[in-house]
């Protein structure tokens, strides 16, 4: 299926990517090519087939409800690009 530049722009917003004009152009071509290749899946009859999410299908895996030590705050925040020693800092969220 051909992908339009508008599709690419829409998906880029959804995926929180800011793409340059050049990137938009090349991605429109490349994604179209790849999606066209992937379109061959349509010819497979999958009517009675259950989707397979996991490579090995396990179920009912649980952990006991026992509290373990958390990270010291200093370590939790150590990789944050911006923090005030207590919380992560982000540019103001408008509205909500």
């Amino acid at each position: 299926m051909a992908i339009t530049r508008a599709d690419v722009e829409k998906v880029a917003r959804l995926a929180r990517l800011r793409l340059s004009e050049d990137e938009l152009t090349s991605l429109t071509n490349e994604l179209s090519q790849i999606v066209t290749y992937v379109d061959q899946l349509a010819e497979v009859d999958t009517d009675a087939v259950e989707p397979m999410t996991h490579a090995i299908e396990l179920h009912n895996v649980f952990a006991d409800d026992v509290v373990r030590p958390s990270l010291p705050r200093e370590q939790a925040l150590a990789n944050a690009p911006s923090h005030n020693d207590q919380a992560y800092l982000v540019p103001p969220v408008l509205g909500d």
Partner: protein, 490 residues
């Protein structure tokens, strides 16, 4: 308000399950810790970390689902709900999309005050288990300083309970929430503390109108930020009136405007439009490959059902059907919560008098709990002590007229009934002494004797007062009987 429309309400309730650790990691869920002190690589969403589901969280969710009469499918799975927000460190919430762990339940509600609505069954679309987001603290004053993110709450287990749009008034909505909260407390799955966010409620509201051209529905509005049941009632009432106004102005129907989100502002008593998160409508749900499905058998579900204990609805009917309490009294007792009901049953079974126990509990115990702002667990008079009081009164060991004094003293001084009787100086008055007192007083009050003989039995009343002055332990009932007997013989 107007009779020309019906308010259609569905509620989404988020309940924090009472686990020690989070849903997918073992960080504590304790409320009120210093910001970002209860986090680990998993709940921070750090590269490489993986979730493992808390067994207790799943069990509590299952217990709740069974208690709200949901069907439990044999297979359930968890999906990623994807959106970007700073308090959502993984970039997705782990929730359930097309195959939730439970569906098609119901909750029965009735009107506590009576007369506002008929008892009815509210459908529950589904209840599913998901993880909570963190907290954003915004610069309320200027909106310009950076927002602060605290991830302590991130990953706390939530059960989302979605009702059908079966509710028709704010009173019904409140009754539904109260009944749900009561049920959750009865089965011990949540502390339901609204202040700490353990119970949160959003409402979907719209109107159905009858017009010349048939039935019409207004666009659905989701109301958020309601922090108490009272707020839910007020917000729904406000919103219904607002939507009716807007309908009259614009005539806009459902489908002609996108679903709107509005926030309740308690101070102004209004719902205000909220800015919707950009592209939030396309959540790109897909099965979480890091988690595996949960399978359950009908036998396992039956076990959970058997272990539930008695639920509020059945407690109410048992109290009125088996023990002769009025539906009103049964409701009052059951709605106080499991601990008070246990107290009631212990007392009632010990003294073997449900009605008298009910009177004591609903009239006196509840009053003192309210006055002292305390709970039944901390109440000075134990269930067994109350039973002793009731028995002593029935035996005549404690005159009925003094039983309230004894109870007050037991409450105030944390003593048992025998001690209270002792301290109040209550003694049983010998029958011959009582006859003598009676004869003495009749002899000194010929006017009263004459009145009684003339048919004015109530005249004896003033003798009772005199008798009590002479001996406070006189049983007024017995004294009155004796007086009448003696006058008749004169």
């Amino acid at each position: 308000m107007s009779d020309s429309y019906k308010t259609i309400i569905g509620l989404e309730v988020h309940v924090q399950l009472a686990t020690n650790s989070k849903l997918f990691c073992r960080c504590s869920t304790q409320f009120g810790a210093e910001p970002n002190t209860q986090t680990c690589p998993v709940c921070i969403g750090m590269p490489g970390s993986l979730p493992v589901m808390n067994r207790t969280a799943y069990q509590l969710a299952l217990k709740t689902a069974v208690a709200i009469n949901c069907e439990i499918p044999a297979f359930t799975k968890w999906d990623r709900k994807q959106y970007f927000y700073p308090d959502l460190p993984k970039g997705y919430q782990i929730s359930q999309f097309d195959l939730p762990m439970s569906a098609n339940g119901y909750l029965e509600i009735s009107d506590e005050k009576e007369g506002r609505f008929e008892p009815k069954r509210i459908g529950i679309t589904r209840a599913h288990l998901e993880d909570d987001a963190g907290k954003s603290i915004h610069d309320e004053v200027h909106g310009k300083a950076d927002s602060q993110i605290d991830l302590n709450r991130t990953g706390t287990p939530l059960l989302e309970i979605v009702s059908e749009p079966d509710l028709r008034s704010s009173a019904e909505a409140r009754a539904y929430l109260e009944e749900l909260k009561l049920l959750l407390e009865y089965i011990g799955v949540s502390d339901c503390n609204m202040q700490e966010g353990s119970l949160r409620c959003d409402a979907n509201v719209n109107l159905h109108l009858e017009t010349e051209n048939g039935k019409v529905a207004t666009p659905i509005v989701e109301i958020k930020n309601m922090n108490s049941f009272r707020a839910v009632e007020r917000a729904i009432d406000y919103e219904a009136e607002r939507q009716y106004r807007v309908w009259q102005e614009t005539g806009q129907r459902i489908g002609e405007a996108p679903k709107q989100t509005r926030g309740w502002d308690d101070a102004s008593g209004k719902t205000l439009p909220q800015r919707s998160k950009e592209e939030s409508s396309d959540y790109r749900y897909f099965p979480d490959p890091d988690l595996v499905p949960v399978l359950s058998t009908p036998e396992q579900v039956a076990e959970v059902r058997a272990a539930l204990g008695e639920l509020p609805a059945s407690c109410r009917s048992r109290l009125s059907a088996d023990h002769g309490l009025s539906p009103y009294d049964a409701n009052v007792l059951v709605n106080q919560g499991r601990a008070l009901l246990d107290y009631f049953f212990t007392t009632a079974k010990t003294c073997n008098d449900f009605k008298t126990t009910c009177n004591w509990v609903t009239q006196h115990v509840l009053r003192i709990l309210k006055e002292q702002e305390t709970t039944i667990e901390e109440f000075a008079v134990s269930a067994l002590q109350l039973a002793e009081l009731i028995t002593a009164t029935a035996d005549g060991q404690l005159p009925k007229s003094r039983s309230k004094d004894a109870f007050e003293m037991m409450c105030a001084e944390k003593i048992d009934v025998a001690t209270a009787i002792d301290r109040l100086g209550i003694e049983q008055v010998d029958e011959s002494a009582l006859v003598a007192l009676c004869q003495e007083l009749l002899a000194t009050n010929p006017k009263i004797v004459a009145d009684v003989q003339a048919g004015k039995q109530q005249a004896v009343g003033s003798l009772i007062g005199q008798a009590k002055k002479k001996n406070p332990n006189v049983d007024p009932g017995r004294f009155r009987e004796l007086c009448l007997e003696l006058v008749a013989k004169m």
